[in-house]
């Protein structure tokens, strides 16, 4: 699956530790063509998905979605979530939060004096946060990566 993407995509187990600590992706070695390098001072950088998907490299984690309660928000079972902990969660954000000893993905509602986590399905379920059950946001979902090849 996703062979075209080599080791940069979610299903390749070859991706290693440096992926997350690296702030920039290197360019490819350029000296292998028979034409020689047309000016080694000028280097271009191939488009790198990390630049687009990761704003805060140290604070960004990837997680796998399981379940169908967020399909209306565009999150399908088995999608990969890009989760940024540096962003402060606000009303309307898709968040990863701690709920009853597990991590869940929900829509954050902060309106009319109510703080709640809401699912996104045909019949949305809302869990209101209060003193007994305080809101504990783990991170904010910034992107959803989904496999489209069937």
């Amino acid at each position: 699956m996703n062979d075209e993407f080599g080791d940069t995509f979610p299903d390749g187990a070859r991706v290693r530790a440096d992926r997350h600590s690296a702030t920039q992706r290197p360019r490819e070695p350029s000296a292998s063509s028979g034409f020689g390098s047309p000016g080694s001072d000028f280097t271009v950088k191939r488009i790198d998905l990390n630049d687009a998907l990761i704003r805060h490299p140290q604070a960004t984690f990837v997680m796998r979605a399981t379940g169908d309660a967020m399909v209306e928000a565009g999150v399908w079972d088995n999608d990969v979530l890009v989760v940024d902990r540096a962003i402060t969660a606000a009303h309307g954000h898709l968040v990863v939060a701690r709920l009853d000893d597990e991590l869940v993905c929900r829509r954050l509602v902060m309106a009319d004096g109510i703080v709640a986590l809401e699912s996104a399905e045909a019949m949305p379920v809302r869990v209101v946060c209060n003193e007994e059950r305080p809101l504990e946001v783990w991170g904010v979902v910034t992107y959803v990566i989904k496999p489209m090849l069937v």
Binding site: A17, D18, H20, P26, E102
Partner: protein, 451 residues
């Protein structure tokens, strides 16, 4: 001004970030082969579990006290560590990692309220990584380390220094803000064994001589101390008195890890150069390891570009390779070189590299453990029964040649990695029944979120 930042109960805290069920529970992390407790949550400490206590001695607490034990997940800890180090580097250009969970920061020339800056650093690490830290600030490294100890004690046990003091100094403790009388009161209540550089032996000797608290040591006669102890220890005492003797890169070695790292004279752009550097660093680390009769269960390797070369693109990967506990340079060098090859990318100006040995354990304990471990894989490539012995005498010979002819006289060539690969550390599977997923370094082990 120096600051020492470290993560409270690092390994345990890393586990809790990804598993909310572990919050508030007594939790220990076990060494390779699940032999001994190498990290404890505060709740586990409160149960009386000691550092390095063998697992079989505390195992009964699983039933009686809901103790949770996990196998060490060094890939996770090392990745969280490199994130933490990168965050600290935002607050000062001079942030030197000292071990997997601590770094010295030099605030020379940084304007502003340093206590506030450190509180902000703490809040940032907590928000971005979920890891709680403690910070100590002072004008010498030894005092910064002591301030860190006090910051942590105030946070965990407010009764030790009193509620009012603890409220003020917990989490971030800046000695520069204290009056001398208050500093002395703190030192008077702090055991001399809590001073950086006072090991078990020195501590016993000091106590026998009537030096029981940090204040006793500060007030002890310098000439006597110099006679009784080493020059290095004299530095420790001078630093405690507020006289800086150690630069930010200089430090007595940490107990739990061995770190060898160095900046290159000029940037290295080729894999061969990187391989050579990490080979040397891993060899030196292995030599230190053997000197203290220990074995390592993992090696972390990092290479980095310089954030001060503003026009350079940056690449600072780090990778941890678990190995079956070993003190053999060849295995450690082999693992280090493999990691370097994996991480190296052409087109970058690398300016520094380092190797850190992790999961250190006493050689005898490790040996006993593997003897007892019926299901452990036999040592690969050891058809001859005496091979393990041969190997350690080879290492002994190497060490004595290096002592005699100077460091690096005899080296493990990175060329020998082919051999190391075959018998290789990576192919040895360490027994880790309770290891959590490597959440941040393996795509097939990323955390699951219920939707």
């Amino acid at each position: 001004m120096f600051a020492l930042v470290d993560v409270n109960n690092m390994y345990v805290s890393c586990e809790r970030v990804f598993n909310p069920q572990l919050a508030g529970k007594p939790l220990v992390v076990l060494s390779s082969n699940d032999g001994a407790c190498i990290a404890r949550s505060n709740e586990a400490k409160d149960l009386g579990i000691q550092m390095a206590q063998p697992w079989f001695q505390v195992r009964h607490l699983v039933k009686s006290k809901d103790l949770v034990a996990l196998s060490a997940n060094f890939e996770l800890y090392a990745d969280m560590s490199s994130r933490m180090m990168a965050i600290t580097a935002r607050f000062t250009p001079v942030a030197i990692p000292y071990s997997i969970d601590e770094a010295f920061l030099d605030f020379e020339g940084i304007p502003g309220d340093l206590t506030e800056i450190c509180r902000e650093l703490r809040a940032t690490v907590l928000k971005e990584l979920g890891l709680p830290t403690s910070l100590g600030l002072a004008n010498t490294k030894t005092l910064a380390k002591l301030a860190n100890h006090i910051a942590k004690t105030c946070d965990r046990k407010p009764t030790v220094y009193g509620a009012e003091v603890s409220a003020r100094l917990s989490q971030v403790c800046n000695f520069a803000e204290l009056r001398e009388a208050e500093l002395e009161a703190l030192m008077c209540r702090t055991d001399v064994g809590d001073v950086w550089g006072v090991g078990r032996k020195i501590g016993e000797k000091l106590r026998a001589g009537g030096v029981k608290t940090v204040l006793d040591l500060v007030r002890a006669d310098a000439a006597t101390l110099r006679r009784e102890f080493s020059v290095v220890f004299e530095k420790t005492v001078l630093e405690l008195r507020g006289q800086p003797c150690m630069g930010v890169e200089e430090a007595p070695s940490a107990k739990q890890q061995i770190l060898v790292s160095r900046s290159f004279g000029k940037p290295v752009t080729h894999l061969e150069g990187i391989e050579e550097a990490v080979s040397e660093f891993a060899s030196r680390a292995a030599e230190k390891l053997r000197l203290q009769d220990s074995m390592a269960g993992a090696i972390q390797v990092f290479i980095t570009t310089s954030p001060f070369r503003a026009n350079d693109r940056q690449h600072s990967p780090s990778m941890t390779v678990p190995v079956r506990p070993t003190a053999d340079s060849r295995h450690l060098v082999g693992a280090a070189v493999r990691a370097a090859r994996e991480m190296f990318r052409p087109g970058f100006n690398y300016t520094k590299a380092g190797c850190m040995l992790l999961d250190l354990q006493a050689k005898q304990a490790a040996a006993q453990q593997s003897e007892l471990d019926l299901f452990a894989e036999p040592e690969p490539q050891s058809p001859a029964a005496g091979q393990a012995k041969d190997r350690s005498s080879l290492m002994d010979a190497m060490d004595s040649l290096n002592r005699r002819f100077g460091r690096g006289a005899v080296r493990i060539g990175s060329a020998t990695t082919a051999v190391a690969n075959d018998s290789g550390a990576a192919s040895w599977s360490v027994k880790q029944d309770r290891r959590t997923p490597r959440y941040t370094t393996r795509w097939d082990e990323i955390p699951r979120v219920r939707c």
